[in-house]
Structure formats: C-alpha cells, structure tokens
Subunit: 192 residues, 2 copies
DNA sequence: TGTACATCAGTGAACGCGCGTTCACTGATGTAC
DNA sequence: TGTACATCAGTGAACGCGCGTTCACTGATGTAC
C-alpha cells in the first residue's frame, strides 16, 4: 500500500546505501536487485518505483559512495598542516582496515576494474568519483602547476593500485608488505 | 566423434587462449562458457571434456596469461642496461596501446578487482601472477635489500593503478594525463 | 475541518532469457590381439 | 600388417536456477472540494 513521502524517501535512501555496501564488497555484476531489496526486507517489484533500471542505480550509487567517502576523508584532522594531513590520508587509505572493509571504503578502488564493462552512465559517474578523489589529494598536496597536478595523479594511482593489489592477493604477508611499501614510498615522495 | 590427440590438445589450447582474451577484455563474470566455445565454432557440451568447471578454466587462464605476458615483457631489449630496460617496461605498460587492448595485456591489471570475488584457485593463480609481475620489475630494478623490494612493490602498484584508472576513465584527456604522469613519476623515482 | 476519490509504494507471481552443468548419442581414433 | 573393439571429443537437447523487468492488485496516503 501507499507510503508517506518521508517513508518513500527513506526507502530510496536505504536502497542506495545497501546497494552501495553490496556493490563495493561483492561487485556490481554479483549483486542482484533481489539481493538488495531482500536485505531491506522488501520484494523486487518495489525497486522499480524508485529506479528505472539496475544501471540507473549503479550510476547513482557510485556518486553517493564517492561523495560519502571523500567528504569523510576531507574532514580528517582539519586544522593540521598539509603534510600532516597527507600522511593521515595515505595511512588511512592503505590501512589493513580499509583493505579488509571494501563495503565501507573508496568506491574508486572497489569498482575500478568493473567500470570499463558497465553502462556509459556508470563510467561517467566513476570519472567524477575519480575527480573527487583527486580533489581530496589536492587538499593535501596543493599546488597550481603541471608538476603538482602530475604528482597528485601519481599519488592517486599508487593509492588505488596498492589497495587493489593488497585486496587481490591471497598471501597475507605479500598483502601487508604491499600496503607498507606503498605507504612508505608515497610519504617519501612527499618529503614527510 | 573422437579426435586425434593433437587435435584434442589444440582444442584445449584454443579454449585457454580464447578465454584468456575474452576474460581480459570483458571480465570473468561477463563471459560465459558458451561464449568461449561459440567463438571457436564449438558447442558448450564439449567444454567439460577439457575442464572440470568454469572456475578451473579461470585459474588456468590466469596462469597462462600471466606467463605469456611476463615472458613477452622479459624479452624486451635483452642486451640493454637495467635503467634503459626499466624505461622500456614503464613506457610499454603505461602506453595508450596497452590501455586500449586489455585482451592482449597484463592479466593482473585487467582482473585485479574481480579476483577478490572469485574461487580460491583463481585467487592463488592471481597471487602467482602478481609475483611474476614483481619478478619482471626485479629484472629491471634489481637489488637484494628491503629498500629495493619496497621500491619494486611500489612500482608494481603504480603501474597497475595507473593503467586501471586510465582504462576506467571516460574522459580521454584525464586518461592520457594519468598515463603520462605515472610514467614520468616512476621514471623519476628510478633516476632515469 | 470532513469527506470522497485519485495516487502510488510495495506485493507476489509471472515473463523471457541466459547461465553452468549433465547426458545419451555419434563416429573417428587408438589399441589389443 | 590387419582386424575387432574400446575409447572418448564433440553434439545438441535438456536440467534447475537466478537474472532484470513487468504487471495486476492492495490499501494507506495525499488532495480536491
């Protein structure tokens, strides 16, 4: 039966949040619309009152997860100097906690290899998510020139590459070694 | 009807090669057994004369693709000095050609984000593939100490991260910018 | 403010479809004598 | 070397299953008077 406007808005929000966690932990292709609705105690049919298709949800989820995770990151140690905050960013991003909890982590890292096979809307949402990640890095590695820009692109690539590889490795020793090495080297690059 | 031993061996080899291309370009979850057999002009049923399951094929494909792509890389400029060869490796790995042709490229980069959701055998095959990639980097960035090891892990993470992000971006300018920046920075790290 | 009615969030069953896997069957290949 | 037979690579249809999406239906909510 019909629900109140607040209930409707809340259901929509819950669908996005649940899908966001599921997509990041299990991948877009491995999570069905029924999985998402089932996790909320709802049935599949109702999904289409909120979204035109699964593809539409994917694009919205990427944006929501990206905004949530970058704004969380941007709030870390707001008063501190750039270098100190850079160290905090790198240590958080390449932590065992982040590695072991993709469902609450950076969507750029968890979805990057799946994106080339997704619908155009998802690719565009991902590109914006990557730009948001670059903006977070920019708050911590400021500078106007091409050199600073290149440094930020490099740091973003190293962060994502380090995290993704540490997650994919079945050897726990190699996995922590990767996190440690990439952390240390990025901080070295920054002269910290 | 029954085929000769050579025919049988060749069919098996073709299944692995075709799956290898398809998995790298479209992802494991998005390629069906029927897709692979169909691409060879065969029917699905015959697949199970060669492999116990799709999972078994995935593990074998990761190994085969990894061996093929690292041995190709190891043969580049065999006589040259390490630094020269390092530059060649970085430029090949982070080239627009490699970005635009995942089906013939590094399986570590094309499969890394899908691996956490695959069967254990695939995860182990991937870990070995990553170790092979590290061995290729080691030929070009030699050294015994923990520092050299950390440098190689960092380079591998940057290479994979740079390639994966350049592939996932729908903005062509950002994509080439990423390749260029990561290339330049890795070469800078190596003092080239 | 009270009432009659239109709206629409969510249900639950159904749709066509493609998936991984199985299986009885075929006939050329390989082998034992 | 020649022959009789067992083997098995590949066929094609079928299996149960889960997918994304649709739809007639329900009844509480929102709205128009």
């Amino acid at each position: 039966m019909r629900r109140s406007r607040e209930d409707t808005a809340q259901t929509r929000k819950k669908i996005v949040e649940t899908a966001s966690r599921l997509f990041r932990s299990r991948g877009v292709a491995r999570v069905s619309v029924a999985d998402i609705m089932g996790a909320l105690g709802l049935t599949v049919g109702g999904f289409y009152r909120h979204f035109a298709s699964k593809d539409a949800l994917v694009a919205e989820v990427i944006e929501a997860a990206s905004i949530a995770s970058t704004s969380r990151q941007a709030q870390t140690a707001p008063g501190a100097a750039a270098k100190r905050r850079a160290a905090a960013l790198v240590e958080t991003y390449l932590s065992p906690l982040h590695r072991d909890h993709p469902e609450a982590g950076c969507p750029v890292a968890s979805l990057c290899a799946e994106i080339p096979h997704e619908a155009p809307a998802a690719k565009e949402a991902f590109t914006k998510a990557l730009q948001r990640l670059l903006a977070v890095v920019a708050e911590v590695v400021p500078g106007e020139g091409a050199e600073s820009r290149a440094e930020r692109l490099f740091i973003a690539a190293s962060l994502v590459g380090g995290l993704v590889l540490s997650r994919a490795t079945s050897d726990p020793k190699l996995s922590s070694e990767l996190l440690r090495a990439v952390r240390a080297r990025i901080l070295g690059t920054l002269g910290t």
